[in-house]
């Protein structure tokens, strides 16, 4: 895959490794203190070396940046500090040349209040854009819709004196919701989708999709109208841009999220949100059930679809989604656990959450790369970067990428004071201790280890698209599963993964009599293990240890 793109492969996303990157925080090419598209383009060799198949760019559009760029004021322009549309085209072209695809965030639900559409709409009740947003004479309509940002927003309605009306916003008051019941809006947003795909973009991560439409008597989430519109986008993509991908962000329970796959006619991918916190809980409780429970509750997905799985990203799971009875588990375990309570809803990077324990980091990445779904890495986690909680909620995990131990972490030649955020400088996670240059030179670094893991994953499509089957094990600290895939030549590829989620060494006996005669070969070192027999297969694992095996016929 790296080095060349198979343009006939319309299901590439089912086996791809994604890498989420903030343009602002990756590399600054012009020394103004802020990362830019050119800087990112210059670092593509590194991303190719790491073995990433697809970049996911956080919003890089024109924006007043009151919500990290998720408040877009011009869908067709690049934020000037990041470059221009030509730079974006160049980034995509250079990435493609290295076998890397590029997708980007797109915010469908709302715009910035600075967007010309809204500026016009708010003027009067009868201008041409008057119905492009959702207006109401009173602020009591749709009171069943929850307020998502309860800490800052008292209501989903905000008063506009010029119209003597209220406008609807599911997020911040400076992010008015677009009115998708207006066909002009639906068409205009489809043109936005077309614009960047025309430029070569390989797809979108669609932000906050459950809220596009509102309807009386509902909570305004997951409405049929919303699904219908997403299907319309999908039809447009399939007809005009085959092979491009739609990745939905719907922070809902898996059973509800699968609706966004439609019947293979809506989004290609959706994020699996509850998996990540449950991996943390499994390690904390030294038992696999937090993970296996949620996987047991995860429905099968239609053919051609895929989950996006991640350890960390810029959004966090919040407890607001876990209120029903079937979710009691989350309440009982999370709301009472001091560590989880402290970290929920707070952006932390992976390594600080793991107390910088490399064993768990390896365990988690092995899990991430072998569970059903395509792994999404977050920039900086591959070198074990830390966070700066004092920068406030989301900025704490968006500090500059640490390239070298030199000035400004090698991120920018600007004056330190000019940087958009200070790089980390603490003795444990600071750029003098943690940086790409140092980890590239050190063959036993986490970076090299992860690169090797991604290489192995790429060699085994079974890990991307194989079936998934948890094996019975009496030891609660051990999670073992099989991935199976029928290959084109007719033989079945089987991968066996075994994990110890406890900090003590553990034995396990696995019931695999139906696989008797197969020889497990460890995938990293290619060391053959004793063949599987009629009796339970006995394996011992070191603390937080794991094994990946391919199963071969004896002889």
């Amino acid at each position: 895959m790296p080095g060349s793109i198979d343009w006939n492969d319309n299901r590439w996303y089912q086996r791809a490794v994604f890498y989420e990157v903030s343009v602002r925080g990756f590399a600054d090419s012009n020394g103004d203190g802020t990362g830019d598209l050119k800087g990112l383009t210059e670092k593509l060799d590194y991303i190719e070396w790491l073995g990433v198949d697809c970049l996911w760019l956080l919003p890089f559009y024109q924006s007043p940046l009151r919500d990290g760029g998720y408040d877009i004021s011009d869908f067709f322009a690049v934020l000037p500090g990041y470059g221009d549309v030509k730079d974006a085209a160049q980034l995509i072209e250079e990435a493609h040349r290295r076998g890397i695809r590029v997708i980007a965030d797109m915010v469908m639900n709302h715009t910035s209040d600075q967007h010309p559409w809204f500026q016009e709409s708010r003027q009067s009740r009868d201008n041409p854009k008057a119905d492009w947003y959702v207006w109401s004479d009173d602020d009591q309509r749709w009171s069943d819709a929850r307020i998502i940002f309860v800490d800052t927003e008292p209501s989903n309605w905000t008063y506009e004196p010029a119209r003597e009306q209220y406008y609807w916003h599911r997020f911040f008051h400076h992010q008015p919701d677009l009115n998708y019941r207006n066909p002009e809006v639906a068409d205009a947003m489809l043109d936005v989708v077309r614009f960047w795909l025309d430029l070569g973009l390989d797809g979108y991560r669609l932000d906050a999709v459950p809220y596009l439409f509102e309807r009386d008597g509902t909570n305004g989430e997951n409405l049929d109208e919303t699904h219908d519109y997403l299907k319309r986008i999908r039809r447009t993509v399939d007809t005009e841009f085959p092979g491009r991908v739609l990745l939905a962000e719907a922070n809902q329970w898996p059973a509800d999220v699968v609706e966004y796959f439609g019947d293979s006619d809506e989004c290609h991918m959706c994020f699996h949100f509850p998996l990540m916190p449950r991996m943390f809980m499994a390690v904390r409780r030294s038992q696999r059930y937090p993970i296996t429970e949620i996987l047991a509750q995860t429905p099968d997905i239609p053919d051609g679809c895929q989950w996006g799985v991640f350890l960390r990203n810029h959004d966090e799971l919040t407890l607001e989604m876990v209120t029903d009875e079937e979710r009691d588990y989350m309440w009982a375990e999370y709301a009472t656990d001091p560590l989880m309570r402290r970290n929920i809803g707070i952006s932390r990077r992976l390594f600080p959450l793991l107390d910088n324990d490399r064993r768990i980091a390896e365990l988690f990445h092995a899990l991430l790369c072998s569970m059903p779904g395509s792994p999404v890495l977050y920039y900086g986690d591959e070198i074990g970067m830390g966070d700066n909680l004092y920068l406030g909620d989301r900025d704490g995990v968006r500090t500059p990428m640490q390239w070298t131990p030199d000035r400004n972490a090698g991120f920018s030649k600007a004056d330190f004071a000019q940087l958009y955020l200070p790089p980390l400088m603490d003795p444990v996670y600071g750029y003098q201790a943690v940086n790409v240059e140092g980890e590239t030179r050190n063959p036993s670094s986490f970076l090299h280890w992860l690169r090797r893991l991604l290489e192995i994953r790429r060699e085994h499509p079974t890990l991307g698209i194989g079936t998934f089957e948890v094996l019975s094990a009496e030891n609660p600290s051990v999670l073992a599963y099989l991935r199976r895939l029928e290959m084109e030549d007719g033989h079945e590829s089987i991968v066996l993964c075994i994990y110890n989620v406890s900090r003590f060494a553990q034995p396990v006996e696995l019931m695999m009599a139906d696989l008797a005669g197969k020889v497990p070969v460890e995938m990293i070192g290619r060391v053959p293990f004793p063949p599987i027999g009629e009796l339970p297969y006995f394996v011992t694992l070191p603390p937080y240890g794991f094994y990946w095996f391919t199963l071969h016929d004896e002889g």
Binding site: V283, R284, R285, S286, Q287, Y289, T292, E293, L295, A296, D328, Y329, A332, E333, T336, D337, P338, L339, V470, L471, S472, A473, E474, N475, P476, S477, S502, R503, F504, M511, A513, D514, E534, P536
Partner: protein
């Protein structure tokens, strides 16, 4: 063909070697075969028999034994290291044969399950560890056959109770698929196998190992078992509610409970116990106006009878206390007796995990962490139990009375444990003794 005549002479040697014999404290005087049937006539042969044993003290027992036969010259891998399962050599019409416990033979274990549940199509066999009163075999990791080794007149409580619970829609059991009965006696039952589960005991030890190693308060530690125990309490209450609906209840009789407890106390050989203080605690039961209901209960409830799965807790093995005669196992009692059983199990878990640590088991800090774990987990269990809707109808409405009944059953269980440990595992007697002292030192 084979006949029982060649087999019966081998039984006096074979039976006492079995874990399910359960009569090590008695002297066997005679064995006879009261039922015999050949279930499969070609090699390997399968025969089934019931053996009546008489003991010198006049007591009797009936053992169930499926036996397999293979030609003597054959050596089978599955028999290696299974000396305990051999009965010996016998002559058959087809030549000399080795006679053995059929359940260790995968081919015969399949033949037997096909006999009991002919509708089920299974191919893979995995024998489980032998238990005190039964032997279990897993098929295809999907079904489990439990063969009762000591057969009694009347329904086997395990079959009876799980059928009653299944009829009430209580899903947290291994649901029965087929039962094998003869002349009103339950011989074996085939159920769904709980795939991917962990026995509660193992899960509790996982939590305790984390607590003892990290030395963090059990409610704050990574291995906090409180939420699990709370959910187990809820399932336990739901089990009682389903049993009450299905098999009915009667008004609880605290006088009778106290009398039974006192009888058991006087039978106890434990001189280490302060009998008068214990008896006084039992007497506190009398005079309770609302003691809750008396009903069929699990009867031998502890962590080893529970299993954590992806669908939450399951409850296993409703045979009751294996040492008791059948009519006592089926007797009605307070549902709080099961709660008491689980509280005792929490105490044992904390102690066993402490002993695992060897010399540091004497560490005062660890001892108090273990005590704290037991308290924390017990509270969570009781809270989960008592918060379950409808349970108030089965247990005393008054909090103090509820506590008094629970304490009396917990004490009674601990007294029983003291006797058992002194007879079988004297090194362990300190565990229930400590519990007894705690319960009589701080009457509520």
């Amino acid at each position: 063909m084979i006949s029982p005549d060649g087999i019966v002479s081998l039984l006096p040697d074979f039976l006492p070697r079995q874990r399910w014999y359960g009569a090590a404290d008695r002297v066997l005087s005679s064995v006879s075969v009261n039922s015999f049937e050949v279930l499969r006539e070609e090699w390997p042969m399968l025969a089934w028999l019931l053996a009546d044993a008489e003991f010198e003290d006049g007591s009797t027992a009936t053992f169930q034994l499926p036996v397999g036969l293979r030609p003597l010259e054959q050596t089978e891998r599955f028999l290696e290291g299974k000396g305990r399962s051999f009965l010996g050599d016998v002559d058959t019409d087809d030549g000399p044969a080795l006679l053995y416990d059929a359940l260790v033979d995968p081919e015969l274990a399949l033949a037997l399950v096909r006999h009991i549940a002919p509708d089920e199509d299974v191919t893979l066999v995995r024998p489980l560890n032998v238990e005190q009163s039964n032997t279990s075999v897993v098929y295809d990791e999907r079904l489990i056959m439990k063969l009762f080794r000591r057969v009694a007149e009347g329904p086997n409580p395990d079959v009876e109770m799980t059928e009653a619970l299944a009829a009430e829609g209580f899903e947290h059991i291994s649901a029965p698929v087929a039962a094998w009965r003869q002349d009103g006696r339950d011989l074996a039952v085939v159920r769904q196998f709980l795939d991917g589960g962990t026995v509660g005991w193992a899960l509790a030890l996982t939590s305790l190992r984390d607590v003892y190693d990290s030395r963090i308060d059990p409610a704050e530690a990574g291995g906090n078992f409180g939420p699990e125990a709370g959910r187990l309490g809820t399932i336990t209450a739901e089990m009682h509610l389903a049993l009450a609906r299905s098999l009915g209840t009667e008004p609880g009789d605290p006088d009778a409970w106290a009398t039974t407890m006192r009888t058991n106390l006087s039978r106890s050989r434990a001189r280490a116990l302060d009998a008068s203080a214990i008896a006084a605690a039992y007497e506190a039961l009398r005079g309770i106006e609302d003691p809750g209901r008396a009903m069929r209960i699990h009867g031998d409830y502890h962590l080893g009878q529970t299993m954590r799965t992806n669908e939450g807790w399951y409850i296993l093995d409703f045979e009751g206390e294996p040492a008791l005669p059948l009519d006592e196992r089926r007797a009605l009692s307070s549902p709080l007796r099961d709660v008491a059983g689980m509280l005792r199990s929490f105490h044992y878990a904390a102690e066993v995990a402490l002993v695992e640590r060897g010399p540091s088991a004497n560490d005062d800090e660890l001892r108090s962490l273990g005590r704290r774990w037991e308290q924390h987990v017990s509270e969570a269990f009781i809270e989960g139990y008592c918060a379950t809707e409808g349970i108030d109808a089965l247990v005393p409405g008054d909090d103090d009375d509820r506590r008094r009944v629970l304490d009396a059953f917990t004490l009674s269980k601990a007294v029983y444990e003291v006797g058992y440990e002194l007879a079988h595992r004297p090194d362990w007697a300190h565990i229930p003794l400590e519990a007894v002292h705690r319960l009589i030192a701080s009457p509520r």
